[in-house]
Symmetry: C2
Subunit: 142 residues, 2 copies
DNA sequence: TATTGTTATACTCTATAACTATA
DNA sequence: TATAGTTATAGAGTATAACAATA
C-alpha cells in the first residue's frame, strides 16, 4: 500500500502514526497495572502538584472538568488518589495516596522501558532532538 | 501546574501532547467539510491505491476490518468513495468518486494550512528534521 | 454572577465475536 | 479451512448541558 505523497508530507499524519505506535507499546506495558497512559499521566501530575483541584488537572491534560472527574474517579477507585478538603468548600484537593506512592515507581519504570523499546530505532541524540522539537511545536498559543 | 520531570522525559507523553495540539487544528480545519483527519487520510489512501480492498485500507491505517468498513461507509455516504466489484466475489474494490476528486484538493489544502499553522513555531529545517525522526521511530517492527 | 464538582446523556472511535458468502 | 465483508454489541474516551453548593 502506497501512503501517498500528501500523507507523507503532512506533519499531523506522521505525528498521529508515531503516536499510535508509541501508544500501543505504552498501553501494553501498563495493562498489568490496570491503568492507561493517560491515567498514569494524571497520577504523576497529582503527585507533583499536591492539593491541585480537578479543573486544573483537566487543563494540564487538555480535557474538560467532566472528563477530569472521571479520571480522578478511576484513580480513587484504584486507591491511587484521594480527594481531600480543598481551599474552599467547592473544591477538592487531590493527593496521591500512600499506596499510590508505593506503586507509581514501578509503573513509571515499565512505561519508561516501553517508551525506550518503542523508540529503539532512535539514537540518544535523535531522541533528545525529537523531544525538543515536539515541545517546541506547543510553544505557539492555541 | 508542573508537568513533572517524568512526563517531560517520556517521549510518548510529548508525542501525545503534540498530536493533540496538531489534531485539534486539523479537526477544526476539516469540520466545514464534514470530515475528520482520519477519514481524509483514508480517502487519500483510496485515491492513491485505486481498487484496494477494505482490509488493506485498515492495515494501512492500523485499524481492523470492522473499523475500516465504518470509515468506508462514512466516505460512501458522502459520495467520496465507491465500492466496485473486486478481484473475487468476496472483495470490494475501492475507488474515489468524481465528486471526491473534485473536493479532495481543497480539503487537502485546508488541512495543509492548518498543519503549517499548528507547527508555526518550527522552521522549515526543523519541520523536515521532525518528520524524518517521526518516520524513523516506525522503522522498528511491532 | 461566576466557579467547582457532579450527573445525565450522547457521540465518536475502536474492538470482539459471530454470521454469510465465497475461495 | 481460510478469507472478505458485514452485523451486533460493548467499551473507552470525550463533550455538552443542566444542577447544586459555594464564592
Amino acid at each position: 500500500m502506497n501512503e501517498g505523497k500528501e500523507l507523507q508530507r503532512l506533519l499531523g499524519f506522521q505525528l498521529l502514526m508515531a503516536e499510535l505506535h508509541m501508544g500501543n507499546h505504552a498501553r501494553a506495558a501498563l495493562a498489568p497495572f490496570g491503568i492507561t497512559p493517560a491515567k498514569l499521566a494524571a497520577l504523576l501530575i497529582v503527585r507533583d502538584n499536591p492539593g491541585c483541584d480537578q479543573t486544573a488537572l483537566g487543563q494540564a491534560l487538555h480535557v474538560n472538568r467532566s472528563s477530569a472527574m472521571k479520571l480522578v474517579n478511576a484513580l480513587t477507585e484504584r486507591d491511587l488518589v484521594e480527594r481531600q478538603p480543598g481551599r474552599d468548600l467547592r473544591t477538592n484537593a487531590l493527593h496521591i495516596t500512600a499506596g499510590g506512592r508505593d506503586r507509581i515507581d514501578e509503573m513509571v519504570r515499565c512505561l519508561d522501558e516501553a517508551d525506550q523499546a518503542a523508540a529503539v530505532a532512535l539514537s540518544t541524540d535523535e531522541r533528545l532532538q525529537l523531544m525538543a522539537l515536539l515541545r517546541k511545536i506547543r510553544t505557539v498559543r492555541d
